[in-house]
Symmetry: C2
Subunit: 379 residues, 2 copies
């Protein structure tokens, strides 16, 4: 088990967080929701391997661990959040974790953000950090896990720090909006963890930055972290970027239905331009939403090549070979152990002409590595 600790020099009066919507949240999420009511918070203590969900006495364990770290840091005992990721149902080894904390606290001064990003890594292939500067200040985001792409841990944890002041009243809705467009627009296998959280702390050192500018910079940080999360996952060889236009308020849901379709995902894995599966997944979602589809307005492009025009496919053997070659180009060798050598995407574009709305979602393919990772876990 690894422990990570993120602490601001002083209490932060401006902080915000977005939590999983899972109706069976982990005990750290329950505790964090309570502590969001406080006037100030100062950081978070994180562990991996065991997620502290549905375990006997789990809430008390989260309280004890954050209190122990706070005690060693000489700050109020409720000044830290707790975050956990790992197996659901097991109990945390609280005493062992407490025993490891003095060394963690002592090391704080000599550690960097990269060290923190590495400390919360599990089977992540590389630490995930993204930074944007804005005037005199900056925004730094660190992420672990991969939604459910990294299902051993099954959790996405994102911690963002900034020295730019934004009023707390504005910061929370701002973070919620940004998360919707970024982390909530990725999906690896449609499972939402019990423990997902995204937290933002501001030291409020720099005032006077326009909120809109801050939001734009935060979107960049989070969008790149979100793509990193998808690209990072073990077993992912293709990152799907699906743009959906014209389906009104349901563009994002329609896109997720496509990137979550096991048939679409396995086809992409196999570099198989089986575009019929895209329209099947779209029609499945749209029909179950009770909507009818004017197929004559439907256009589909894969890697920039139009495969459906006004609801009719035009496929031939040569075109399919071209598409298959384009998919192979976009693949990432899952055997690469370090930072990915490229940032390719498989671009799916779905357009219903004459309709409103637009969304872009990110997903992964589904291959043998995903099964190996998830079926062989523990057993």
């Amino acid at each position: 088990m690894k422990l990570g600790l993120l602490v601001a020099d002083k209490p932060c009066s401006s902080f915000a967080a977005v939590f999983t919507r899972n109706a069976f949240p982990g005990h750290p999420v329950v505790l964090a929701r309570q502590r969001m009511q406080q006037a100030t918070m100062q950081g978070v203590v994180v562990n991996n391997k065991i997620s502290n969900v549905g375990a006997p006495g789990g809430l008390q364990h989260a309280i004890e661990l954050s209190a122990e770290a706070s005690h060693l840091l000489d700050i109020p005992q409720d000044a830290l959040f707790a975050a956990s990721t790992g197996i659901i149902g097991w109990s945390l080894p609280v005493n062992d974790m407490k025993a490891a904390m003095p060394a963690l606290v002592e090391g704080l001064g000599s550690l960097t953000a990269v060290d923190f990003a590495q400390a919360i890594m599990t089977t992540d292939r590389y630490p995930k950090l993204r930074c944007q500067t804005l005037g005199a200040g900056s925004i730094l985001g660190v992420a672990k896990g991969a939604g459910m792409i990294e299902p051993n841990m099954g959790t996405m944890l994102v911690f963002i720090v900034t020295d730019i002041h934004i009023d707390r009243d504005l910061l929370q809705p701002l973070l919620s909006r940004v998360v919707e467009q970024t982390f909530n627009s990725i999906s690896i296998d449609s499972d939402q963890s019990t423990s997902d959280m995204c937290m933002l702390f501001s030291s409020s050192m720099h005032h006077g930055v326009a909120v809109a500018d801050f939001e734009a910079a935060l979107i960049e940080v989070c969008k790149d972290l979100a793509a990193d999360i998808v690209r990072n996952g073990e077993g992912t060889s293709h990152v799907l970027r699906c743009s959906v236009k014209g389906f009104g308020d349901l563009c994002r849901s329609a896109g997720k239905a496509i990137i979550n379709s096991p048939l679409v995902k396995t086809a992409m894995y196999g570099n198989d331009p089986n575009v019929g599966r895209i329209v099947a997944a779209l029609g499945d979602f749209w029909g179950n939403a009770g909507k009818s589809l004017d197929a004559s307005a439907l256009f589909i492009r894969l890697q920039g090549i139009e495969v459906m025009t006004r609801g009719v496919f035009h496929l031939d053997a040569k075109g399919e070979q071209q598409l298959s070659a384009a998919l192979k180009q976009a693949a990432q060798d899952p055997a690469i152990g370090s930072f990915p050598e490229h940032e390719h995407f498989v671009d799916l574009e779905i357009e219903l002409q004459g309709g409103a709305g637009q969304a872009t979602v990110y997903g992964s393919d589904l291959g043998y590595e995903y099964v190996r990772e998830n079926a062989d876990y523990r057993s």
Copy 2:
């Protein structure tokens, strides 16, 4: 490509059908919806390999093929439905199919229901027929495909014949009810084909059977066919039977969320009693439905062993070994090439005490075979 033909001796004035809700239905589905308005129908002509969806001139092809078979049978040219299953987007080789029809029609007299069930097989491991007798009559059902378990074809086709008369006004709502409880309660990979259909024809030879008795017998036929469909699929080693109680109108949706969770499915494949994933999938669904969960009322059993009591897991190494052994017992060797040697299930029971509602859904695990089957298809 294979062709199958199902024809009644005389026109049936009592028939019913349920079609895919996919908003991009195949051309045979579009044609069949039109012909459901007719006073009588007499049967269906079926092909595999190409599903006739989104193809240029596809509706005309379906009309031509059913007319050609009707012409050879000397019945009205619109007396047959058409059904197709296979790759989406390609065009049917209509002329070759017409050329094959005389032999098909000539062979009709010497063929049995088993022959028909075999004719519509694709990668099915065995023909799927189920029969119930009722008074002097009987109900015979034949199925192909496996929802999406057999994604090469990607389609479930079910044809049911009976010599028991039920008024057509009653037959359609009756079939719809039965399909909800049976075929619409299975899910292999959450993809709903563009071409799914379930049709029932009555020759009306035997009158006087009570509608409730007919419905009960039809449920038995369809429930067993539905389980066969899940069990049959290539790549399925565990059939999941998930019973959900106490979640009101959402019991079936909650159960589907669990059996469609890739993390639950891969765990079952690996004989891994990772029960935390069950509660994560349930909480994900329930939270996204905007509901809160009283965890203290939640009980979960796996293979009859209670793993969660009042919202708290009680797992230990010995218990997990027992569960893993029970999962291994329930596995079916996917290498078995013929009729399965057993009819085992993995039983998941989810109960929210004090709540209303109950549903049972059936699903499959997710293993290497599924990926192989779907990723290597065509490419």
